[in-house]
Amino acid sequence: MTQKITKILVANRGEIAVRIMRACRDMDIRSVAVFSDCDAGAYHVRMADEAYHIGPSPSTESYLVQDKLIEVAKKIGADAIHPGYGFLAENATFAKRCVDEGIIFIGPKAETITTLGDKLQARKAALESGLPVVPGEQLDDDNLNDALEKAHTVGFPVLIKAAAGGGGKGMRVVYSPDDFEEALRSAGNEAGSAFGDSRVFIEKYLERPRHIEFQILCDQHGNAVHLGERECSIQRRHQKLIEESPSPVITEAMRKKMGAAAVNIAQKTGYVGAGTVEFMFVEPDQFYFLEVNTRLQVEHPVTEMVTGLDLVKEQIAIAEGVELSFGQDDLSIVGHAIEYRICAENPEENFMPSTGVLKNYRLPAGPGVRVDSGVVIFSEVPIYYDPLIAKLIVWGKDRNEAISRGRRALEEYRVSGVDTTIGFHRVLMDNETFIRGDLSTKFLEEEYPEHRYSRLNNTYREAAAIAAALHSFTTQRKIRLASSAPKNQQTSAWQARHRRDNLRSFGGDR
């Protein structure tokens, strides 16, 4: 009982929309883009077979408006909607709405999203599936004494977490009982205003855990597999920056054990589609269930690179009702992959977002290099959305080869017009602790407490000094030569010279 999908509306933008459309093209499925005002010339619109305008730039007036998406999908006869990640990807209401309108939602069932989206319910499901969870306690609404007692049972430091949480909101680490009351109150308030749900719970706070997650795939016929782990310990503000697969510390035995646990909770909750089961991991072999992400994740390409699978194609096949074409034993991990999130941000200014037009944009290439980009040269990075503009993924036959290729590709990547995380990543690739694979979610604050990410040395400084002086020199020289020309001709001699010479050298060693 399969239903061939022939046209997919991609309810997203940026790199993930482009990524999904590439899979559509590979499957000979027509892809449909939607776009807001400021995305009228965006790369995902150019990549699509069809494209429709859905509203003003703010996502609340465009990409998040369920009515508009459904309206376009029906008007143009799309069989299915792929939500990507973010926006409506984990919105149970939207998933249900699609189904009600006779459109396939490429993702898990609405009920599964609801269950796993609530941290308390997810924790319960994990316990029932026999997964280890971090020691912790649910809290009654208003009983502070009871809560404090439970905190003592769990043992300080404790972590207060919002039941409906995400993105670090409604989360507090409490080291001492004295600070508990205030932290509890403020976490509840923050959760209430952010999610409309002030329920919180407490967990034992792990000081230096690794973030390890397992990719799962489940078809509509009860078959489920895991595709190995990803290590995503390099984070800032609970947002991942570098992900890799496999993890440097997961043995084959641990992979089997944790993978089985991941498949188990998926099957217990009736999971369908691609998903991720997240764990905290403490060496050598303790792991704790964290949560399930009911969507395709940003970092899915590292799993693709080491398994040879195309996860978006698998998602679509599952949505069509096709059985998985492989079992757990058919899968193996080959080599090592690392993903670098290329964000329009200034790492030294606490990753402050940066906007602008990409005056230069040149992708790295060659052996072992993949780029999933949402922008091209002359694209504008608008203010309205996530600052992730692209992902660089490298593959090597082992972790060392992957790191070497990462270094090379990051140096090849050329972007001008916005600040990016490229230089930051390049610095990390020389970090001995990273190279040793000694990672934790505390990595950045421990290694770079000053937020300075530099590999400037005297040779580079000298080269940059000569470059800067040459820029001044050539500009001055031209202004002198052109001083009798009308004023508007004087702006930039560097430019003027270039235009006249039409890309030829003006000097050099000929």
């Binding site: 906007t355 005056k359 203010i383 600040d419 080269a463 000569i466 470059a467 002086a469 270039h498």
Partner: protein, 170 residues
């Protein structure tokens, strides 16, 4: 020969440049270096220094001496001055213009969420001044030098464009 003083981080470099019969001649802190310079685009060039290859992008704003040099996956902030003027300035005890900037401008468009200081407040480098929300994230703008708040140009709820004046220190 033209002579420049280039400052990168806390280091200073004395660069001499000359253009003669279609070639560039350069000195670095008095030492001759072989330089070849090939234009690649509007602000891009290929620079060979004693054979070492650097593909560079230079961004200059035209308002001050600062230029950002992008190369080898790094963006390197530089300050370029005429060497002789720099010596005069130093003798007169004036610091370079970049470090005396007291006007805090928005480095990106966004919405002011919170203003944490008011005119008259004393601030230390690193103190939070205001919070701007952009791209769904809150960004804290901090003081880059010690001083007192002279004037605040925005209030919570204001939209700001890149380059808009936010406040002024003195």
């Amino acid at each position: 020969m033209s002579r420049f003083l280039v400052r990168i981080e806390s280091e200073e470099y004395d660069i001499g440049l000359e253009y003669r019969s279609e070639k560039y001649y350069a000195t670095l802190n008095g030492r001759e270096v072989e330089v070849s310079f090939h234009r690649l685009g509007e602000s891009r060039a290929l620079l060979l220094i004693d054979g070492a290859s650097y593909e560079i992008d230079v961004r200059a704003n035209g308002f001050d001496n600062r230029k950002a040099v992008f190369m080898k996956g790094m963006e390197i902030p530089t300050e370029v001055e005429d060497y002789n003027l720099a010596q005069l300035r130093k003798r007169a005890g004036i610091t370079s213009e970049a470090s005396v900037e007291k006007v805090v401008k928005a480095s990106m468009p966004g919405m002011v969420v919170e203003v944490r200081v008011k005119p008259g407040d004393a601030v230390t480098a690193g103190d939070p001044l205001l919070v701007i929300e952009a791209m769904k994230m809150e960004n804290v703008i901090k003081a880059t030098s010690n001083g007192a708040v002279k004037d605040v140009s925005v209030a919570a709820g204001n939209s700001v464009d890149k380059g808009d004046k936010l406040l002024e220190l003195e």
